[in-house]
């Protein structure tokens, strides 16, 4: 197989899953430059780890594992790797300006903020739950039992609801 179609296929996969990559970057990086740097690392690791994808498994399971592992490792780095490699134009464009006047927009921002306040692994769990992944897939991605997934989802959901409740109270 020559290189071009592989690259094309890969870019198509990135195009199809760009919202997921963006949401993961946004959940693990508050800073815009870091977000862009993380997006580049995720895309690179997906490209580099392509050989490890087993067609017997779901593509999304593999992709979430790579993207979330890279994101958690990136988040845990004490010092970020410095300036983002410029590739002509910015890879990820994010609007930092948030329309707080719109109620729905405000709740979306609050949900993002509350997710960002969770521990790294709980954050991954919540993203997967909100992306409507099955318990069995979440368990496969995280490496914990399905029962544990169910317990943790309930606990984390309650935590998020409490935060919304507290916010609305004050």
């Amino acid at each position: 197989m020559n290189k071009e179609p592989v690259k094309e296929d890969f870019l198509n996969l990135i195009q199809d899953n760009k919202k997921i990559i963006f949401k993961i970057c946004n959940s693990y990086c508050a800073n815009k430059n870091d977000r862009e740097d993380l997006a580049q690392e995720i895309i690179y690791h997906l490209w580099k780890s392509g050989h490890s994808f087993n067609t017997d498994h779901k593509f999304s399971t593999w992709m979430y594992r790579v993207a979330l592992n890279v994101a958690i490792s990136f988040y845990r780095k004490e010092k970020r790797s410095g300036p983002v490699i410029s590739i002509a134009e910015h890879l990820i464009d994010v609007e930092d300006k948030k329309d707080e006047h719109n109620e729905a927009e405000k709740n979306i921002n609050l949900l993002q903020q509350f997710i960002n306040e969770l521990k790294e692994l709980d954050r991954a769990l919540m993203i997967l739950y909100l992306e409507e992944k099955s318990y069995s897939e979440i368990s496969e991605i995280l490496g914990i039992t399905e029962t544990n997934v169910a317990t943790k989802i309930n606990r984390t959901k309650e935590k998020l609801k409490q935060k919304f409740l507290l916010y609305n109270k004050f």
Partner: protein, 226 residues
């Protein structure tokens, strides 16, 4: 708030991203080769510096063991020297094996493994400095016994035994104290940090805390985030 509301909010977020220009695919497609190459160089440089420090530790460790074994070969008739040198070699070998294990882990690192598995491997690597320093200190008592001879035992008298008891006893106490206390719980203490000289102790502390978080996560007893 109901579960469905949380999911609806996430869907609304998804829809919001539908219209937003979040990933510059045109730029990525145009510059893909240079992007991949630059990222590859960056990753390779990181890997090289990580491996270099491990390989250097192994080389120095093996060199040290080789010197000790050379001396041991000459003085093996002295049982005190043989036992002391043997223990020093054994403890150094444990540290070297840990470094070799780390190299295998680095070589085997696969981000498509489950999150728990991958993150456990990463924190194992990040906390290696604590393991090697605390294990190395266990050699300390044997530096106080290798020079003992049968002659000293026979004719040393009370002074010799009092001196040896205090000297070796102090070394054993210090070694056990350091082995017990060099841990992430004490990493905020100045003396522990100075013993871990050269390492990024903040990263080590965070890595050790993350080990506990992973264990809690596996068990299902995660505490609220502070």
């Amino acid at each position: 708030m109901e579960d469905i509301q949380l999911q609806n909010l996430w869907k609304a977020y998804d829809e919001k991203l539908e219209d937003a220009k979040i990933l510059n695919m045109k730029s990525l497609a145009l510059n893909f080769e240079s992007f991949a190459m630059l990222q590859h160089i960056k990753a390779k440089a990181k890997l090289r510096s990580l491996l270099l420090s491990k390989i250097l530790c192994i080389v120095f460790g093996v060199l040290f063991i080789w010197i000790v074994l050379e001396i041991l070969f000459r003085y093996y008739r002295n049982p005190y020297f043989t036992v002391s040198a043997g223990c020093i070699v054994l403890i150094t070998s444990i540290t070297i094996l840990d470094y070799i294990r780390q190299i295998f882990i680095i070589a085997d690192m696969d981000y498509s493994d489950s999150l728990v598995q991958t993150q456990q491997k990463l924190v194992f690597l990040q906390t290696s400095i604590i393991r090697s320093v605390r294990v190395s200190f266990l050699q300390l008592p044997f530096y106080g016994t290798f020079y003992i001879t049968q002659e000293m035992i026979r004719s040393g008298g009370a002074t010799f035994w009092i001196f040896m008891s205090i000297f070796t006893g102090a070394f054993i106490t210090i070694a056990l104290f350091l082995y017990k206390n060099i841990s992430y719980k004490n990493i905020s203490k100045g003396w522990v940090r100075s013993l871990l000289n050269g390492s990024d102790w903040k990263s080590v502390t965070k890595a050790m805390e993350f080990i506990n978080e992973i264990e809690e996560f596996k068990k299902g007893s995660s505490q609220p985030h502070k």
